[in-house]
Every structure is written in structure tokens, then in C-alpha cells.
């Protein structure tokens, strides 16, 4: 029983990260129509930036560990915002009138470039980073649970809630949703469409980067970190349903559970296949996922 608790807590922590990444992926698609296959690499960049800034922020904010972490997070978000703007200008704008496959290949190509730029910059050795909450473990009904796992769940929840509030409870969010619904109508309504697109990409990259920051202390950072994450996040988006924040959460957690419980109780070798089989099943039986809107083909 204690083992089950341990596994479930881990699964929810991993699932929370998948949920954040799935959200990044979904927002890119819903708001800009881009199926962003570079999502995983964006997660990696976030993690790597975190590793680097942690090293430097210690110099400026010496004393408090909390201040150091906060400064590091701020620098990472700044960095990811820049990445987002570059993505907007370099990938989205030039390709925005192209058909689906061209855009997909475009994001794959830029993902390849990003991953290898990362290798040239940071090298190939894995990097260990410290969690802001340290390496302590708690006793939870006899199960040993790491504080970082709980921290991940909390931070992810806060992030997702913040995104929800932004999208559904703010004026800016209303504009985002109008844009997603009908870009032409939005333009006619006086919405500054390009500025919104740019902001969207900043948000997409910031979310991916945040996921990378949360992952770093769990799994050691190297340039291959994001590859598998991206694919699982896509599965989470499908299972939870596109266009739905609750969908991202449920999808992410389900993928986390399927992966970790599947590894334990079914087969550790085929655990990833279990996740993709689940995704496949949803695609065949209920493509809109658990919470998504009815599947309407996007032109």
C-alpha cells in the first residue's frame, strides 16, 4: 500500500509537468493553429537556462537561497520570453499561411536546430541542479515522498490556475479566445492580432520553460531531456482534449499514472508503449479527448 502511495505521488508530480507542457502545446495550437513539435526542445532550453542562471544568480543575490532561486526563475522566464519572440518572428509569421504538414515539419526542423544549438552551448554532460526546496523526504503514511515532488505539484497547479484565470477571466484572455475562434473577426473587432500572436508565443515558451525548471532537479538535465516529454505531452493533450484547461490537467495526470503504474504493474520495458496505446485508443474512439470540443478539422 505504501508503495502504491509512493508511486502515485511520483506519478502525479510527473503528470503535473506533463500537464503544463500539454497546456503549452494546446495554447500554441488553439491560438495560432501551429502543432508545435518543438515543444520538447523548449522544455529542455528552460531547464538548461535554469541550470545556468542558478549558477550566476548566486553571485548577485548571495545571501538568501530563496532570493537566488527567485532571481534564477525570473531570468529563465526572461530568456524564454525572448525565445518566444524569436519563435514568433522566425517560425510562426513566415509559415502562418502554409498547410498543416509544412508547419509541422517547420517546428520539427527548428526543434532539431534548438537541440543541437543547446548541445554546442551546454555540452553533452548531464547537469545536476538543486531543487528550491532541497532533497528532504517526508513520511506520508509510511511512504517516502520527496518534498520536491510536492513542490512540483503545487507550482504546476498554481501555473495552470494562473493560465486559466488569464484565459477565461481577463480582458486579455477574451482577446486570446476571440483570436483562436476567428482571426479575421478578431482583426475587424480592432484586436491587435500580431501583438496577440507574439504574446501567445511568449506564453507558450514560458510554460514550456517552467516545466523544464521543475523537471531539472528530478531528472538531471541534458540536451535530450525534452524529447520524450514532448511526445508524452502530445498524448496528454489528446487524452485530455484540446482546447480545455481541465483537459490538460486530467490528460497530464492520466499519462503520468499510466506511465508509472504501468511500469510497475504491467511492464517497465513497454511503459511508453502503454501511454501511446492509450493515446491511440482515444484517437480511434474519442478523438476530442475527455474534455475537448467536438473535432472540427482546422484548415
Amino acid at each position: 500500500m505504501t508503495q502504491l502511495i509512493q508511486l502515485i505521488v511520483n506519478a502525479i508530480a510527473v503528470g503535473a509537468i506533463y500537464a503544463v507542457v500539454a497546456l503549452s502545446f494546446e495554447i500554441a495550437y488553439e491560438s495560432t493553429g501551429v502543432v508545435n513539435f518543438a515543444t520538447g526542445q523548449l522544455v529542455t532550453i528552460g531547464a538548461l537556462l535554469g541550470a545556468s542562471t542558478l549558477a550566476y544568480s548566486g553571485v548577485h543575490f548571495g545571501g538568501s537561497a530563496l532570493a537566488t532561486q527567485a532571481a534564477s526563475y525570473a531570468m529563465v522566464f526572461g530568456g524564454m520570453a525572448i525565445v518566444g519572440l524569436l519563435f514568433f518572428v522566425g517560425v510562426f509569421m513566415p509559415l502562418r499561411k502554409q498547410p498543416a504538414l509544412t508547419v509541422i515539419i517547420g517546428t520539427v526542423a527548428i526543434g532539431i536546430a534548438i537541440q543541437n544549438l543547446a548541445q554546442l552551448t551546454w555540452g553533452s554532460l548531464p547537469i545536476a541542479t538543486q531543487s528550491p526546496v532541497g532533497t528532504r523526504t517526508l513520511d506520508f503514511f509510511g511512504a517516502v515522498v520527496s518534498v520536491h515532488a510536492l513542490y512540483v505539484i503545487v507550482v504546476a497547479a498554481v501555473l495552470i490556475a494562473a493560465v486559466y484565470v488569464l484565459l477565461y477571466r481577463s480582458a486579455l484572455g477574451a482577446q486570446f479566445r476571440a483570436l483562436a475562434q476567428d482571426p479575421e473577426a478578431a482583426r475587424l473587432m480592432g484586436i491587435r492580432v500580431n501583438r496577440l500572436y507574439a504574446l501567445t508565443w511568449v506564453l507558450v515558451c514560458a510554460l514550456a520553460g517552467a516545466a523544464g525548471l521543475l523537471l531539472g532537479p528530478m531528472w538531471f538535465i541534458d540536451v535530450g531531456l525534452g524529447e520524450g516529454i514532448g511526445l508524452k505531452a502530445f498524448a496528454a493533450a489528446i487524452i485530455g482534449g484540446f482546447g480545455s484547461v481541465p483537459g490538460a490537467i486530467v490528460g497530464g495526470v492520466l499519462v503520468g499514472l499510466a506511465e508509472i503504474l504501468g511500469a510497475s504493474y504491467i511492464s517497465s520495458a513497454y511503459k511508453d508503449a502503454i501511454v501511446f496505446a492509450l493515446m491511440f485508443l482515444f484517437l480511434l474512439v474519442r478523438p476530442q479527448g475527455l474534455f475537448g470540443e467536438r473535432v472540427a478539422d482546422r484548415a
Binding site: 508503495q3 509512493q6 508511486l7 511520483n10 510527473v14 543541437n116 548541445q119 555540452g123 553533452s124 554532460l125 548531464p126 547537469i127 545536476a128 532533497t135 523526504t137 517516502v144 520527496s146 528530478m218 531528472w219 538531471f220 541534458d222 535530450g224 520524450g228 506511465e259 508509472i260 511500469a263 510497475s264 517497465s268 520495458a269 511503459k271
Partner: protein, 390 residues
């Protein structure tokens, strides 16, 4: 038609450019080295999953090249090593070797140290008839009985023997659980250990495999615990090894770990904390540095200076192989068959990692390993035993 320039001109220009692009790579590539340099090849994982391991011998081979040339080269001629990236998968590795053979035609190649890649390349080595050295430890390598293939590191059977000794005689455990990477290295080593333990009357209670790129090993670790393992025997690479130790600790598992050499690579140890190493033992090829010789200590110092990282025994094996190669080139010249005979006859060659003598039955050149543990509260290695016992 609305082109900016005269349409006929841009068509022709495009066609010409296309033609030039198409023709250029088909012609023989120009040499990047002087005419009388001696050129040998090296297939190294520079990108991909195993890049961190490959980096160690990419660095050490470059250092070897510089050292050899600084000491006068091969009778005045400079040694040049041409590197090809094997990437993270076997097909790319095979292609890298074939590319070297066809484009550079070297009399010698340093083969990838990943057993799975070395084994994939082995048939091509036989076809090409050039001597190669690998640091891969898999048992399967010597089973191929390829006269051109030499091994500069101890075979995993030696490591298996050391681990068996560690489990039974040192730690006095009787219910080992195996945890291993699901490839030639891990599977071969796990099978070798299982057989050796069985010969001493100890049965393995559980075997769990993993993908080297995995991030979460809790399923495998808990399974080993549930099946009653009182010691974990692990065959891993660096990132996965570090994750295994960390997760073992965070899951609260207390049984000791006896691991293969991947656990003591600097790139693994850099990722863990001293308290992750409590109860952890490992085989190591050798204790580099002072324990071997003053020259070895000097090598370590220079490697750190050049690469801002400590050398591991993998990289050092290649450095030593380069030294042996240089000697061979001086004695018999850049002839593939003569070099092969030279390598087959190596006896008591003093290298930075150990002394090398080629065993004619297996083409293995290294014949001992060390069992190490860690000084409590630190990441310093402490030798627990040498195997086989002298």
C-alpha cells in the same frame, strides 16, 4: 509572371547552382592534413544518447594525438586522428566506420567504446581487414573471434567475477537482484554475473531491465525490493546510474548496491551527492593516477588542465591504446596487417591505466579490475579488493 529579374536568367542561375551543388560532394573530398601525416580513424559517439561517454575518449584521443606529436610524432611524421560521429544508434555507427574506411583508408581505427556499437561494426571490421581497438566490455566481443578486434579494457566477465566476489565474500549477501540496461553491455554483463553467482550456489531473486534514456526507475527498484533482494547489482551508464542511486535513496531502500564501472565514471559521480553513495560499491578498471605510476598522475593532471574535467578509465584506455599504436607505427609502419601482428604481441606495455599484455586466445589486453567503495561523506574512491586475486 512576376519575377524580380529576367525569368530566363534566374532559371539558368538556379539550374547552374543546382548542378554545382550536386556535383561538388561527389568528387573526392580534399584532405585536411599534410601529405606525409599518418592518418588513423576513430569512431566516437559525439552526439546522441552516449555523447557524455564518448566525450571522454574524444578528449583523451585528442590529448594523445597532441602528446605523441609533441614528443616527435612517428619518426618525424605527425599522427592525425580523423573522428567520425557514431551518433546514438547502431546503424549510424556502422555507417561512420564504413565512411572512414572508404574515405580515409586508415591502417587503424579506434572503435566506439559502446559494446553495442562495436559489435554492430565488427562484421565491417572483418571485411575491411584493419586492426581496431575498443574499450567495450561486453563478453560478446571476444566471442566473435575477430583477429582484427582488440580490447583495451577488462572484459565484463572480469567485472562479473569481481562483483560475485563482492556480493558473496565481501558483503555476505545471498539474494541478489539484477538491474541492467537493456543492450549488449547490460544484458551481457547481467547474464555473466547470474551464471557466476549460480556457480557459487547463489541464485538471483529478480532481474529488471531499463532503457538507458529512462528517467524513472522506481518501478524496477520497488520490484527488486518486493522480490526480497538484499543487494542490488547494477549495470548502467552515467545519467541513469546517478538517477538510480538518487531514486534508491528517495524510495528509502537500504540494501547495498554493487555496480559495474559506469557508476564510478566522473560524469556519474558529478551528478550525485555523497549520501547517495552510502552502501554503494563498484568495479573500476583501475584507480587512476598515483596508484598506477607517477606518469599516470601526470596524465590525470594534464587531462584536467586540457578538458576541465577528470578522466575516466574508458578514456584512459583509449589514450593508452594510442600510445601502443604510436609504438607500433614506429616499429612496423602504417601497415594494417603488421600493426595487427604488433597488437597481438603486446607484452607488459606500461600505460596510464595499467600494464597491457595481449592474451592470444581472446585479444583482450587488460586483465584485472578493482572493487571500490566510497569514503563515507565524500565521493573519493577507496579500493576494497583487486580481482582476480594475484
Amino acid at each position: 509572371m512576376h519575377h524580380d529579374t529576367d525569368p530566363k536568367m534566374s532559371r539558368r542561375r538556379a539550374a547552374a547552382a543546382l548542378g554545382a551543388f550536386a556535383a561538388a560532394p561527389l568528387l573526392r573530398p580534399s584532405a585536411a592534413y599534410a601529405a606525409d601525416d599518418i592518418v588513423v580513424g576513430a569512431t566516437v559517439p559525439i552526439t546522441g544518447t552516449f555523447a557524455a561517454t564518448g566525450l571522454q575518449y574524444h578528449n583523451s584521443l585528442r590529448l594523445a594525438q597532441d602528446d605523441i606529436n609533441a614528443a616527435g610524432g612517428i619518426k618525424g611524421r605527425k599522427l592525425r586522428i580523423v573522428f567520425e560521429d557514431t551518433g546514438g544508434n547502431n546503424s549510424t555507427a556502422v555507417n561512420a566506420f564504413v565512411k572512414l574506411v572508404k574515405q580515409v583508408n586508415p591502417p587503424f581505427v579506434f572503435l566506439s567504446g559502446l559494446s553495442t556499437q562495436a559489435l554492430a561494426m565488427e562484421p565491417e571490421v572483418l571485411k575491411a581487414k584493419i586492426p581496431v581497438v575498443t574499450a567495450g566490455g561486453a563478453v560478446a566481443i571476444q566471442e566473435r573471434k575477430n583477429p582484427w578486434l582488440f580490447r583495451a579494457r577488462p572484459a565484463d566477465t572480469l567485472g562479473a567475477g569481481a562483483i560475485t566476489y563482492g556480493v558473496i565474500d565481501l558483503l555476505k549477501k545471498s539474494k541478489p537482484g539484477l538491474l541492467y540496461a537493456q543492450d549488449d553491455y547490460g544484458t551481457g554483463a547481467a547474464n555473466a554475473v547470474e551464471a557466476m553467482l549460480a556457480k557459487s550456489g547463489v541464485s538471483v531473486v529478480a532481474k529488471e531491465a531499463f532503457n538507458p534514456r529512462d528517467n524513472d526507475f522506481s518501478a524496477q527498484l520497488l520490484s527488486l525490493k518486493n522480490k526480497g533482494a538484499d543487494v542490488i547489482v547494477s549495470f548502467n551508464y552515467n545519467r541513469d546510474g546517478a538517477l538510480i542511486l538518487k531514486q534508491r535513496k528517495s524510495l528509502g531502500l537500504t540494501m547495498p548496491v554493487v555496480a559495474g564501472t559506469g557508476m564510478v565514471a566522473p560524469s556519474t559521480l558529478d551528478l550525485v551527492d555523497p549520501d547517495d553513495l552510502i552502501g554503494v560499491y563498484s568495479t573500476a578498471d583501475t584507480m587512476l593516477g598515483e596508484a598506477v605510476s607517477p606518469a599516470s598522475a601526470d596524465f590525470v593532471r594534464r587531462y584536467v588542465l586540457a578538458n576541465k574535467a577528470r578522466p575516466d578509465t574508458f578514456g584512459t584506455a583509449y589514450y593508452d591504446a594510442a600510445l601502443i599504436l604510436a609504438e607500433g607505427l614506429r616499429k612496423v609502419g602504417p601497415d594494417a596487417e603488421k600493426l595487427r601482428a604488433y597488437f597481438a604481441g603486446v607484452k607488459d606495455f606500461k600505460g596510464m591505466a595499467r600494464n597491457y599484455t595481449t592474451d592470444p586466445a581472446t585479444n583482450n589486453m587488460a586483465h584485472s579490475v578493482v572493487l571500490v567503495s566510497f569514503k563515507p561523506g565524500s565521493k573519493d574512491l577507496v579500493a576494497a579488493a583487486v580481482y582476480p586475486k594475484a
